[in-house]
Subunit: 126 residues, 4 copies
């Protein structure tokens, strides 16, 4: 197993859009965007997410804790504090952590009967 | 929130193809390619996009402004000046900025009843 | 052909989720997650995969051998020793090798009549 | 427009699989894998592709020319010399060039009525 933690402490996801409606049984088939976070270190990761919009100031920080040697798949739909992210709106996000983490971005779009799925590694900032 | 700007000043997307037709209500379900641009800096980003083709000289520069601490999701379909990008044609793009930005590429293909979606981080050039 | 091996010796995939059910003929249309591994070197690659969960200690190492100058597309569904990976559960993975390899992540989700496919390059750790 | 060429001279795509059958009108909806290559330089790029398999020696080199300041979207289905790539078979590829290029990987899977699309930036080798 890994001896030293993998990843970066700052990541960016330039794409963000929570589809405004869904088909199929919740929560599996609810339209959502996810930041999959992996913390391979031996220390708890204190993660903050900042949300950027096209037409107003950034929102956040949203605070998340990922325990040591755990993964957490954070649905942007579930971020409530300081404010929920509006649906049907373009956004982007910056994820920062006090220990190295790895971030991957996924979207499930279930606006139609057959789902569409996308994923990409996030951008690891220097 | 981020203290120093995240990203690179040159990016490339080797894939480009705007499907020639669409299904479903516009504009959400119109087939499109998007460059999602995030500007975390405190300065307005002056962005230029150059489009490369398989059989003729590059087109552009297409000029876009992304305000400080904002994201802009640019649909290639909407680029009109100096000339619209033809549909059903292979292309690629280079995105350059005077401040660091992050670029992610997304395509919605709605040629069929059920959409297909793809995304990837763009290539950050040195 | 390549003279020196391409890649890194540590990779991470922060996203992992094997859909709990499938449509269509097996094995092509069975819902699965895959780590596509490329070994361009002249030496056999001894690869270990460690699986991280949200709520318990990591599992592994799962051991895989990729012969010299070969690719192996490893389905996480097929990992059995020391224990199968549960379906319908969030996980993440770290892939380590004694020679440089390249890792790409793919998921086929066939829970519905029409499949969804995703892919991304994995995160190459330093 | 770009003053110096963007990219790397060696790239790898660990995933490769040409679906064995297709739905819909050819060639747009024929199942295919594509390497989208962008050459922003002022010199013609002489590109070679080597294909790696799971159970036999690599095939190639497949030779492709991408003119200066052009993109070429190469369908692996169309590679014929020295031998076509078998369908329904796992493979991986290494793309090498004498000038810097950018490579992105895309697959259209039209085995079902509704297509699935995937894309990712390829792995830029040092």
């Amino acid at each position: 197993m890994a001896n030293d933690p993998i990843g970066n402490t700052r990541w960016a996801i330039a794409e963000g859009y929570i589809a405004a409606w869904s088909h199929g049984p919740a929560p599996e088939f609810t339209s959502h965007e996810t930041a999959c976070i992996l913390n391979t270190s031996d220390r708890e990761a204190h993660v903050t997410i900042t949300i950027y919009f096209s037409d107003r100031d950034p929102a956040g920080p949203y605070k998340i804790t990922v325990p040591a040697r755990r993964t957490k798949h954070v649905r942007f739909n579930d971020l409530k504090d300081p404010a929920p992210i509006p649906h049907g709106t373009d956004y982007a996000s910056v994820i920062e952590s006090d220990v190295p983490i790895v971030v991957q971005h996924t979207r499930l779009d279930s606006r139609q009967a057959e789902n569409a799925l996308i994923t990409t590694i996030a951008y690891p900032a220097k």
